[in-house]
Amino acid sequence: MSEMWINMGPQHPMTHGLWNLRVQIDGELVRAVDPEMGYLHRGIEKISEDRHYNEVITLMDRCCYVAGMAWEHLYILGAEAALQVRPPERADYLRVLCDEFQRLGSHLMWYAAFVQDLGLMSPFLYGMRDRDLVLDLFQSFTGARMTYEYMRVGGVRNDLPPGFADRSRKVLDWLDDRFREYDALCLGSTIFRKRCDGLGVLKGPEAIAHGVTGPMLRAAGVKRDLRKDRPYSAYDRVDFDVALADSADVTGRYLVRMEEMRQSVRILRQVLDWLDHHPGPVVADRLPRWLGAPYAPVGAEGYLLKRNYPKGLGLSAIEEPHGEALSYVVNDGGEHPYRVKFRSPVFANLSAASTYLVGYHVADIPPIMGSVDVCVGEVDR
């Protein structure tokens, strides 16, 4: 039979963002795939070199638009390592709180988009509705729903407003019930299972060879979670389990993300209890003036260069909702970072597309790519 290449993207309902999946098909079978990224490149790493350390945070929210808080945290950890600043303990817990709420928001967004790829409209509405509660909570203490600008070098911007803990506990109780409903709608549905079971199999050794991380790797039964393996912030002081599945297919990734949301709720309950009983400062009390805490650095260009400020390299890695992200910040003693570099987990997950798409049918591509959880903003940066 004759073979041909088709373009799924850059404007295609399957892609969830601006990228192009070129597929070589033979009848209904996928013979080869060629993912093309780069349509959303904004030069965020280069722009960061021209901004003060705190101003880079405004770019991080635009870097990944469904997990902005996780990317703020990633950059801040790198910048703090480069500048040799330690945040107070309460700020550590607040960052864990932000990270886990963001994980809930991101996974709910993934759930909504994924079930819509399968053609299920009602679960999509439920996912978006419940994500809105998380966004409401974010708005109540950062002032915005998507672009939070909440973290600062050496801490966070402000403390939680009064009554926040009670409101978020209500949301967590509400979400706990909803997870059961999602499972009844999806796992209990034979249509869902027949479209997802055994699709897009990516086994552990192959996933590791391609640098695939996050829920895709854990769905293959590999126990790898940076929150456990290399704890950052306050993750070594909270109790949770690593979500695992062994089927390595689309259903396995669904199960892992659902379990991760339950674990996030568990972490959040512990963090909220800790925050109730340990008031304190949220910003380090001794910061270099030019870091802008709370004010931004000013002055004639170059006046800092004749003084000796600490230099250093910062490297940080966090478990972002999509996988393992890494940041590298070089501080050469100036007002701006000399170089900022990020590792995007979704870029690696997408680059391995040929391993989990070849051999399946064209109609299987939307559910398989939906289970990858693509966020192109961080792929291209």
């Binding site: 901004r51 705190n54 101003e55 405004t58 009602s122 509405l125 509705r129 419940d130 409401d136 909570l137 708005q139 109540s140 002032g143 915005a144 600008e149 911007r157 402000n158 407003p161 009554g163 409101r167 209500k170 949301v171 509400w174 009844a184 796992l187 209990g188 549905s189 034979t190 249509i191 299972r193 079971d197 039964g221 389990d241 979500a243 695992l244 599945a245 089927s247 259903t251 199960l255 379990e259 339950r262 674990q263 910003v283 380090a284 009390d285 910061l287 003036r289 030019w290 802008g292 805490a293 709370p294 004010y295 931004a296 650095p297 000013v298 002055g299 004639a300 006046y303 004749k306 003084r307």
Partner: protein
Amino acid sequence: MTDGTAGTAATQAPEENPVLYVARPMATAARQFVKSLVRPSTIVYPYERLEDPRFRGEVAVASGKPIGVGAVWDNYRGVHALNIATCISCNLCAFSCPDLCIEMVTVPGGDPKHPKKCPQIDYGKCSYCGFCSDACPEGCLTMTTRYELSTPKRSEMVYSPQKLNEVFRSKLPMNPIRLERPENEDRILLDPPLCIGCNACARDCPTACITMLDVPKPEGKPGAKLPKRIWKEPVVNDSDCVRCGTCISVCPKECLFWGSRP
């Protein structure tokens, strides 16, 4: 599933009556539909607003049941409000803006030698990050809950200080967050051998916290050449200083700098 192994669920699709596997998810959806008849899951925007006082306690209505995510609107970062009367023209908002959308323009009220300058904000560029209101030492630039900005003219996106002052006078709820200054904040220090006593820092200081004090002339050998300068040096009153750095940027000899020495 409490042990974290999500894969223990059946990996094979359950075989069952085809009528049941259509009917069961539909029953869940129908339950939600009936609830949404009582109360929609969303705020019906042009008719209801999230900032309405009646939503203050009980926002985020999910499927007919208010679960009480209250006060989501209190810290909102919307259009700025500027109190011109308390603005000290320190420039910190313009310096801290990542989008360079703040320009300091002259407003009436200053003397001819030292014109009063207040921020003018271009909302075509603004990203509402709030760094400017965080930086404002006097609390005169704050953010409000106003967010409807659409206009047919691009020039109307630029808000002059007077227009921002009208927003302030309209008594919209203000963002209550005020950042506290760290206790051991860096302060302005002087490199005495470089100073020429030119008075530029004291002249431009927005809070007038710099005074020029006399320094004694060094007693060298008679006839030795003394450096050509005015024998005065700036002394900064740290409790009044807002750390704006204007003195550093106007100093012609770069003899002022940030430091932590007592």
